[in-house]
Structure formats: structure tokens, C-alpha cells
Amino acid sequence: MNKAFIVAKHEFLTTVGSKGFILVCIVFPLLIAVPALLFTGSIRSMVTKTPDAIGFVDQTNSLQESKGFIKFPQEEQAKETLLQNEIKFFFVVSSDYYDTGKVFFYSKDDPFSSVSTESVKEFIIENLLREFNLDERVKERIRNPMKQEEFELDRRGEIEKKKSGISSFFPYLLAVVLIMGMLTPSGYMVQGIAAEKENKSVEILVSSISSNQLLTGKILGLGSAAMLQVTIWLVLGITFMFLTPLGPVLQQMELPGLLWMVVPYFILGCLLFAASMACVGTFAGSVREAQQSIQVFSLLAVLPLLFLSSISQSPNSIIARVLTYIPYTCPVTTMMRLSLTEVPLFEIIVSILILLISVIVMIRLSARIFRIEILMYGKKANLRNILRYLKG
């Protein structure tokens, strides 16, 4: 077996077996999911049995009971039933409802308690419709007046379909997941190399394998661990989201056709940042110093988010195109663009090629600098010495 794969296997198993990895994999999705579940009351419905029925008091005396809606003659009886936790909440249709439209809602003083006005609206509309002998199609249109589809004209006057609500949020979500995923192996890389330098195991390693094999193995192993981490995040995140009322909304979300492109961009992005961080880890004197240096590269990864509004409004603008051709901003920018509009094929091919070449160059450069650092044992590596060795 190639020794780079032995290193990759070791790095992967060491990383995924660490308490930190397990903590980050489980805790991070929980940090997002738990507030979401609390907010939507889903936890309450999961852990306690909440009544489904809704009570009402009709002062107009025109509404009829139907499935899930219980009629009470007086407010007092409705209140008593609510306190006994037999109904979710109740509402009172005011006697002057037909003039004012006033409906009063009553629920318990409880952080998990919520009123679903949408179901009440549907209930009142059904009751009102019963009073008129309308065509069934008209009734349906009163229930659902329109199914909205929006279009936008670009500068050339060409029509593009506008993304609706949740779909327009998708590029931002994708960018955040990509950035976090790409920076994850980098963090492990920089800490791993600095730790090996600190505990001196690097001397045994370089007496057994070449620095090229060592770094390639590290990048592959840590990159695989990062991909596993992001996959766990996505699976857990999506599962939790579907437990909330956001589930049906997410199902309606329009995913871009080229979403699979996220895979090559993510892999190449991971490798590029990991190789770059290897340089940082090599120069750093200690784990703490290395962690501080990560921030510089993190800024590069986050850079496309600073242009988020510009890219969202005009995904094919000059700024968006320039960021597509810069290796460090390319993965996030291109995926944001792809989720918003159609990106010319040649731009995708060129950006992937640039990214691929950058990864190869960066791995070789990192391996060379890594070796130079070892050559300069006991001395602080400064730029002048490194340039001298690189030329040599």
C-alpha cells in the first residue's frame, strides 16, 4: 500500500475517533435544531401529549362544529376546558363579526403554547361558504385565490423565473455549509502538524517516508474526515428540520439542477484549504500559534459572503465572475451562482481547472516548505530563508 494511504488511514481514524470530532458532529446540528424545535413547539408535541382539538364560542350563532373544532355555549366553559388541557386553545367570534371581522383568541400562559390561526381561518371560510350556493370551482378559488409564480427581467430583457421564499435562502445556506465543511479539515491539519512538531514525532515520520507522501496522506485523511463530518451534519440537520413545521416547506423548495456540482467543488476546496493550512501549521511554533493563523485563511473562505447581496442580485456580474476564478473564493461563489442562475459551462470548467491546478501546486509547495522547516531545525523559519531554500 502506498505510504500516503497509511498516513491517510491513520489521520482519518485518529480524527473521527477523537472526542472533539464526535462532539462537533452531534453538538453542532443540535445547536441549530433544538432552538428551531423549541420555537415551533415541536419539542412540546414530541415529549408531551397536546390536545389537537380547538374550541370556539360563536356569538353570531352561525358557525357549525366540525372535525377538530368543539363549540362551547359560553366563554367560561371554554376556559375551564382549556385549563383542563382538553383543547389546544379557543377563539371567540364576536357578535359584530360580520361588520368588524373580530375574533378573539385565548391560550394558556405557556412558552410552548401557540395558536394556529391558519386552521381557524380555513374553518371560518368553510362555514361562510356553506351559506352561499356557489360553484365548487369558485369555492376552491376562494379557499386558494392564487398559485403564485414570479418572473424577473434581466438587463438584456430576458425572462428568468424568480426564486420563491425558502429557495432564495438556499444560496446562503449552501455557502455556510460549504465554508464550514472546507475549513474543517484545515483546522485539523494545522493542529495536527503543529502537534507533531511539538511532540517531535515528525522526526520519525520523515525518516520513514517522504514529506510529499506525508502531506498528501494527511490532506486525504483529514479531508475524508471533514466530508464525513459535513455528511453527518447534513443528515442530522435535514432530519431535524423535517421534524419541525418547516418540513413541508422544505419539501417544496426548488433545488437547482446542478446541485451535484457541490461535490467536486467541496472536495477540491477542502484539499486547497487543507494544503494551505499545512504551510501555516509548518511555520507555527505551537498549536496555539497555529490556531491563530487559521483566521487569515478563514477570512478568504468567508469573502464571498461579503458580496452575498451583490451576487444574489446579479449572479453573473463582474464581481461574481472574478470571485469564480480566484481559487480560495471559487467553490463558495460558484455554488452560490449555480443555485441562483445558469452559469456558462466554460466558466465552470475553467474554475474547476484553476482549483485543481491550485490544489496540486499548493500540496507540492506545502511539502517543500514542510521539508525546509525540517531542514532548518532549531531555527525560526523566516521568509528570506524559505525563499533561499525554495530557489535552491
Binding site: M1, K3, I6, V7, H10, L13, T14, G17, S18, E196, N199, K200, S201, V202, E203, I204, L205, V206, S207, S208, I209, S210, I374, L375, Y377, K379
Partner: protein
């Protein structure tokens, strides 16, 4: 071979490769360094060092702190490149294949504290080309009395135990050439004996060992030949017995009382109750004995070659 658990085909292949590497000469030079020079920031760390290490010998690499021993070892292992000069291992330049025939214990120890002893040993063994090292790991852990700690994390072991594990890393893959940089530092007398016995066992199996240490008594007991470097220069090189013989006669004396200067004694190392006296060529030891009896009460008197420690101090102070 110390272990017979290696598959036959692998074993044959390895032996075949070694025969090919070694040729048919029975007094093979495992290591040959010629005119090695190395400079760091304008300061010469090694100045034209040349030496050979022969198969099956324990070779001592000596020198005071900062003499250039570790730099020399790193050049041998191809971690550092010399400014000039050449190193041949197994009669050829070092490459990925020859690296698998070398075992190395660095002075600055390095293990992975957060993984188990077994995983740590397995990783280093695989990097040295061993495919299924489980049996060897168990064998060596049992030999050093740490088999019960196999599944504990390295960081949970005592410093001495970690040092023994590090030693196992250097010999686990059954290397033909072993470089040990200060192998006894930090070990208690029991563990020192364990390591020393293993080294002698390896020597008896025909393995070649380069021992870099400051512990002169160990070198004196174990090494066949030595190279001493001081300030980057080779100052002593060759057969240990010949070197000691060249340094003339010495008297080792155990005594009670206050020892003063004696005529005809070139150098005296006085430890209070024990002293080592290097004699000038013309003086008769009997005359020295007579002079000693006038000063102190003698418990033990021995005429011998000077100890390596005396030679080391003498050369290092020049």
C-alpha cells in the same frame, strides 16, 4: 530474524533483497560516510567527517553537547542533506527502500499521546513496510513487560514506559541497521538493563547498531568501535581497545583521606573516595602506589587502560 511469524514468501523476498544489497563480502560496510560537511548560518557544524560502520558491530557515536552528533544522524537518515560529502547505506545511496531497513530512536522522543499503544506501534510499523505487525507488537510488548498496557493510551503511560515504547518503534520492523540517539536517558536501572539486553541480543543476530550517548560506561561495555566528534571535527575514530591503549596507562584507586597532587601523574580525576590517575609514560606505577600510601588509606588499586570517560573529558576539553 528474531520472529518467525513473517510469511515465507515475504521473508524470502526480503532476504533476497538483502543479499542483493549486501553482495558477497562477509565484512560488509553497512554505512560509509565520506567527507561530510554541513554548515548552519555560516557556522560549520560538521567538517569533513569520514567513517565506516561494519555489519554486526555496535558503533559508538560520541561527542559533547553541540558537537554535531544529531546533525550527523539526520544526514545519515536523509532528513538533512550535507553541503558536501556522501553517505552510502547498504552500499548504495539512501532511498525509500533502504529506509525500511533502518530503525531510528531520536533523541527528542515523539509518540501520539491520544491513541492506544497498539495503534501507535502499528502505524509506525506500517510506515516501515510491515503489513501485519500484530504478532510482532505482542512479542515486543511482552518482552519489555508492557503487554498489559497494549490498549491504554500512550499519554497515560509513565515517561519511562513511553521511552520503552519508543524503543520498540525503532526495532519493531526487524531492521538491519539501528540508530539509537541517547537510548538510556530517563530510564531506571531495570529498564536500562532490559534495553541493553535487547541490544546485545540484536547484535548476536547480526544487526548493526549505532549508539549515540553520553553514558560512557554503556559505550565502554557495548561498543566495538567509536567515532568521537568535537566542534564538528572527527577527534577519535577506530577500535575502542586500540584507542584506550594509545592513551597509555591509568590507575584507578578507591581510598579514604585527602588526595593531593602526585609527581608523574599527567591528569587526576578525583571523586572524593575514588580517583582515576593518568600516568606519564616514564613513571612506574609502583612509585605512584608508594606516594599514594603516604597520603591516603588505599582500599582498591588497579592498573588499567584509561576509562572512556577520562578520554572523552580529555579530548572534549582540548
Amino acid at each position: 530474524m528474531i520472529l518467525a511469524d513473517e510469511p515465507l514468501d515475504t521473508l524470502k523476498k526480503r532476504i533476497g533483497e538483502r543479499i542483493h544489497l549486501r553482495g558477497i563480502d562477509t565484512m560488509r560496510k553497512i554505512l560509509e560516510a565520506q567527507y561530510l560537511c554541513k554548515t548552519f548560518n555560516g557556522k560549520a557544524v560538521l567538517k569533513e567527517i569520514s567513517f565506516q560502520v561494519k555489519e554486526g558491530e555496535v558503533f559508538g557515536l560520541l561527542g559533547p553537547n553541540g558537537a554535531g552528533k544529531t546533525t550527523m544522524i539526520r544526514i545519515i537518515l536523509d532528513i538533512l542533506k550535507p553541503d558536501s560529502g556522501v553517505v552510502h547505506l547498504f552500499e548504495r545511496q539512501i532511498d525509500e527502500k533502504t529506509k525500511e531497513l533502518i530503525g531510528y530512536l531520536p533523541e527528542e522522543r515523539g509518540l501520539y499521546p491520544k491513541i492506544t499503544v497498539f495503534r501507535c506501534l502499528k502505524y509506525f510499523a506500517e510506515l516501515k513496510g510491515l503489513k501485519d505487525p500484530k504478532n510482532r507488537i505482542d512479542f515486543w510488548l511482552e518482552k519489555i513487560g508492557l503487554l498489559g498496557h497494549k490498549n491504554r493510551k500512550v499519554g497515560e503511560l509513565s515517561k519511562g514506559m513511553q521511552q520503552e515504547i519508543q524503543f520498540v518503534v525503532s526495532i519493531l520492523h526487524d531492521p538491519d541497521f539501528i540508530i539509537l540517539d541517547e537510548p538510556f536517558v530517563g530510564l531506571d536501572p531495570i529498564n536500562t538493563k532490559v534495553i541493553k539486553d535487547i541490544l546485545l541480543e540484536l547484535k548476536s543476530k547480526g544487526k548493526t547498531v549505532v549508539l549515540s550517548t553520553h553514558q560512557m560506561d554503556q559505550v565502554e561495555k557495548m561498543c566495538d568501535r567509536i567515532l568521537m566528534i568535537n566542534k564538528g571535527k572527527s577527534v577519535l575514530y577506530g577500535d575502542l581497545e586500540n584507542i584506550k591503549a594509545k592513551y597509555g596507562r591509568s590507575i584507578k584507586v578507591e581510598f579514604k583521606g585527602e588526595l593531593k597532587r602526585i609527581k608523574g601523574v599527567k591528569k587526576m580525576s578525583n571523586y572524593g573516595k575514588y580517583a582515576e590517575l593518568t600516568l606519564s609514560e616514564e613513571i612506574d606505577p609502583q612509585v605512584v602506589l608508594k606516594a599514594l600510601t603516604t597520603q591516603v588509606k588505599i582500599r582498591k588499586f588497579e592498573i588499567s587502560a584509561p576509562s572512556l570517560n577520562e578520554i572523552f573529558v580529555d579530548v572534549a576539553q582540548r
